[in-house]
Assembly symmetry: C2
Homo-oligomer: 252 residues x 2
DNA sequence: ATATGTTTGGTTGTCCTACAACTATACAAA
DNA sequence: TTTGTATAGTTGTAGGACAACCAAACATAT
């Protein structure tokens, strides 16, 4: 009978769809901070789902500090500044404009991370970073394997700072970058650019090996900047993948 | 009849307690990446709650990318590097050690944010920042009002970068800082330190007003460093608040 | 013996009802 | 005016039922 179900993106489970729906409503100013949300019963009826689904969505929003539920009263929208979790909407991240700003943040973080890593990296850290670098150079094209190695390279540098908060933040940003690239994959398999990319990583590595803080910062800053430019130049980034395309296949 | 209920921290609702429980289990390596979690029925029975509660908790963990649930199969632990959200455990944040690292990250971010803000701030941005500064100077003691103004000062600088990602990150860190300070509040009401704190903010503001990028970076870097030292010196930060003390009262 | 359907048990996804815990408001009584 | 009480409404939790789905064992046909 499956009637309306798979109009579009029916693969994703309901609670997350409801959660992002409410999130968007709030972001759009449909519900102002301090304002009360509709009751769970109302939401359930309005959206045509059970209250259980609503509760799972609300539970997530509350965990993120987006809303604040009070038993016996209702749920209220909190000020966006007081969120207790960072989560990006990957739909809005698919535009060059957002990516540009994300790369600016990335540059700031990883530049300083590289500087700290140059000062603090252990011999083991250096070895792990080297492995990622080698794995990256091995690949000819810009494909899954080399992308993964690329991200590992950056993550391991962050780990070498011996600061778990920095590591967490860099991992998070890397993950967002990965998602964005996944979409526009195979756009620029130009061998020259791949080689340039590897060369930049080598320079960062050499600075880390030498323990040269300033060189590490500068080579990393230059690399992030260039990487941003390369993605910026790639076509096919403003694709309007209307809703919830992001289905995870295999995973084995 | 309320028997066992308020043994300890019974105010928090069950799903979030279950979620943080499972999170801790995973963090402790009790469940390795790729490993399968117990079924929802098993978890429900083991923890003595209904499956609904388990589902709300699992729903949150999945939204954070901590686990990956496959219908008809089970839920599996994901690699911590692939999290899709940043959320800090505030219990572990109550140690000086963690706070130190958090302030290192904060310093990196806000230093560069101040630099960007000096270059990009509009006249309105400047006005908002000035308001926060005035509100901060008005207070004599280091109490709620001035703490709030202090945070607003930092947030507004981040907003002036015109980069919403930077703004989001700074807001998040500010919120974590606030939570940490809330605990150790009223520890150092020394008027001298408060004055020093205000003076540092003034210096940052003047750099922003002048549009001096380098001065903005240096004054902000110095301020974050000093602020970290001041909190570091404050007593009562290693309190062992065993479980889920974090109840939100009033909120009116 | 290999390949191809088919069954079966188990797991997550969704729905439903019921009740407990709690709160704000209105109303009644002192 | 103040205080206590009832009431209706909201979120929190429990439990059962079934749908959707999957993996592995089993049966059948080639």
């Amino acid at each position: 009978m499956r009637q309306i179900s798979h109009k579009i993106g029916a693969t994703q489970h309901l609670p997350s769809k409801v959660a992002s729906f409410i999130t968007r409503e709030i972001a759009a100013g449909r519900y102002q901070p301090g304002e009360q949300l509709p009751t769970e019963h109302q939401l359930a009826e309005t959206l045509g789902v059970s209250r259980n689904v609503i509760r799972e969505a609300v539970s997530q929003l509350r965990a993120d500090g987006v809303i604040h539920a009070r038993q016996g009263v209702g749920a209220f929208v909190m000020e966006p500044e007081r969120r207790s979790a960072i989560r990006f909407d990957r739909e809005t991240l698919k535009t060059n404009d957002s990516l540009k700003r994300l790369f600016e943040l990335r540059g700031i973080l990883e530049t300083e991370a590289a500087g700290l890593a140059a000062a603090r990296r252990s011999a083991e850290d250096l070895k792990t970073i080297k492995q990622a670098l080698d794995r990256m150079s091995g690949e000819e094209r810009w494909q899954d394997g080399s992308i993964e190695a690329d991200l590992i390279f950056h993550r391991e540098i962050a780990r070498a700072t011996a600061n778990d908060y920095i590591y967490t933040f860099v991992c998070f940003i890397c993950e967002e970058i990965r998602q964005s690239i996944q979409i526009a994959r195979y756009t620029n398999p130009l061998p020259e650019l791949v080689e340039v990319n590897v060369a930049e990583h080598v320079r960062v590595y050499e600075a880390l090996e030498a323990g040269d803080v300033e060189a590490a910062r500068q080579t990393m800053r230059a690399h992030i900047w260039n990487a941003g430019m390369r993605i910026d130049a790639a076509p096919g980034n403003t694709a309007d993948i209307s809703m919830t395309k992001q289905d995870e296949r295999d995973e084995k």
